[in-house]
């Protein structure tokens, strides 16, 4: 796997290290009862790489993402994080998940906690971080996503874009080695999409490893090192974003892109 040179000019992003796999899926299958949703997925995400996942609704994108941190147990196959087999018996998934940040379409901020408390909950309870230190770090992260003044607001007092930025900051509090994004801008009013994409761009340029399910083709093209097209429970096509988007090889990819790029 090679890391394509940036096509967007002076991106400050450090190059991905092609030797170090951050996440590796090997022959992952996932069934719900008799319905097979993932039918053998192989995917490697290198350290520092940004992989965009696109595909039609119901194709298995969310399921694929949820298999990475094993929110869904896989039916067959292996999931590796930094070389460690998470599907091996006896793996403490609760500890493993601290290294994998996840951001959801519906934000899923804890509505009874203020923004800053949403951020400090996990480090305080799971890492026993002292309250003052956790708050200091939380305020710094909120400032990084442009919400320094919203620390004490509750989620339902914030706009969708603000909530999603808090949710990204919440995931970052645990210093994850990889971030999973599941259509994080799909529930937002169009004018709020860019403020969230700005945060993700900043994150990508800082060298974060990211696996992003997205409908934002512009984002995938700009920041994706690689683009993966998922359909019918398999990776039907993958490659450099510009190649896949401009010269799709697969019929289903072509059909899908015709619809979304219309």
């Amino acid at each position: 796997m090679t890391n394509p040179p940036s096509v967007d000019g002076p991106s400050a992003r450090p190059p991905a290290d092609p030797r170090a796999a951050m996440v590796e899926l090997r022959g992952v299958h996932k069934s719900y009862g008799s319905v097979e949703v993932l039918k053998g997925v192989d995917l490697t995400v290198a350290r520092g790489e940004v992989v965009a996942v696109i595909g039609p609704s119901g194709g298995g994108k969310s399921t694929l993402l949820r298999c990475v941190n094993l929110l869904e147990p896989v039916s067959a196959g292996q999931v590796l994080l930094e070389g460690e087999d998470l599907t091996a018996a006896g793996t403490d998934l609760n500890t493993v998940r601290r290294r994998i940040g996840m951001v959801f379409q519906q934000f899923n901020l804890f509505p009874h906690l203020s923004a800053v408390d949403n951020l400090t909950l996990a480090p305080r309870k799971l890492l026993r971080m002292p309250k003052d230190e956790a708050r200091k770090r939380a305020l710094a992260l909120l400032a990084r996503v442009g919400l320094a003044d919203k620390a004490d607001a509750h989620p339902r007092q914030l706009s969708g874009g603000q909530q999603q930025r808090v949710a990204i900051a919440r995931a970052l509090m645990m210093d994850p080695h990889v971030m999973l994004f599941d259509e994080v801008t799909s529930a937002l009013d169009p004018e709020l999409v860019s403020e969230v994409l700005d945060v993700m761009r900043d994150l990508a340029r800082s060298g974060m490893t990211m696996l992003c399910v997205t409908h934002e083709m512009g984002f995938a093209r700009e920041l994706g090192d690689r683009l993966v097209f998922v359909d019918g429970g398999v990776i039907a096509e993958h490659g450099r974003p510009a190649d896949v988007l401009d010269r799709p090889q697969n019929d289903r990819t072509r059909q899908f892109l015709r619809k979304v790029l219309r």
Partner: protein, 226 residues
């Protein structure tokens, strides 16, 4: 002050019996507060087990809830007081008082809390698990605080009913407030004064509890609304 029926209302009569009414009220408050606290605890604990679908335990809880919600409280009280001694379990009035209220209110609160916990959107728990919290920890930090808020109005209703239902203990002659009044009436025939007096006492206390419940609900209201 004669009325149409020729009845003389004597407020002084109430004052004369304040001491007895006072100790009756204390017993009412004692069995109700133990019953209310217990019903709350039983509701949260068993409601949690029930919503987490813990195998066997969950079915035992269903049996408990069904039995106590589908039989009259009065029958439950009689059963504890008169029937259990037949199998060697003898309880005094005080014990039957708080225990029957606890079991009755607990059964309703199990359902209230279970429904509250199950109404919490799965996405919140999922976000909590994704951060690295175990299933029980996610319950503690997300499902419990959010589900309890959903359950709160129906739970406080049941707790107030627990208090009011303490008057059922008249059936086993446990001298709480109502039983005390009934006994005074039996020797004095001052029916109107007595029941007016205890009616006002019950009304005032329920009103206070409702105020308290409202304050608790406002305190825990989620900023920005539901």
């Amino acid at each position: 002050m004669p009325d149409a029926a020729g009845y003389h209302f004597e407020p002084g009569f109430i004052a004369h019996h304040l001491g007895e009414l006072g100790s009756g009220l204390l017993r009412t408050l004692a069995i109700s507060s133990i019953g209310m606290a217990g019903a709350l605890l039983v509701g949260v604990l068993l409601g949690a087990i029930s919503s987490l679908r813990i195998p066997v335990a969950r079915h035992l809880i269903t049996v408990y809830v069904e039995v106590f919600r589908n039989t009259p409280l009065l029958v439950q009280i009689f059963f504890l007081y008169f029937a259990l001694p037949d199998i060697g379990l003898q309880f005094e009035g005080f014990t039957v008082g708080w225990l029957s209220l606890l079991l009755w209110g607990g059964a309703y609160n199990v359902e209230n809390f279970r429904a509250g916990f199950e109404a919490v959107e799965g996405g919140y728990v999922e976000a909590c698990r994704a951060l690295g919290f175990s299933r029980p920890a996610a319950f503690r930090h997300v499902t419990l605080p959010l589900g309890a808020r959903i359950a709160l109005p129906s739970v406080t209703n049941i707790l107030i009913s627990v208090f009011k239902n303490s008057s059922f203990m008249v059936a086993i002659s446990y001298p709480e407030l109502t039983d005390t009044a009934v006994n005074i009436v039996a020797v004095s025939f001052r029916v109107f004064e007595m029941f007016l007096a205890i009616g006002v006492i019950y009304l005032g206390l329920v009103w206070l509890m409702s105020l308290g419940a409202g304050a608790v609900e406002r305190h825990y209201a989620i900023p920005g609304g539901h």
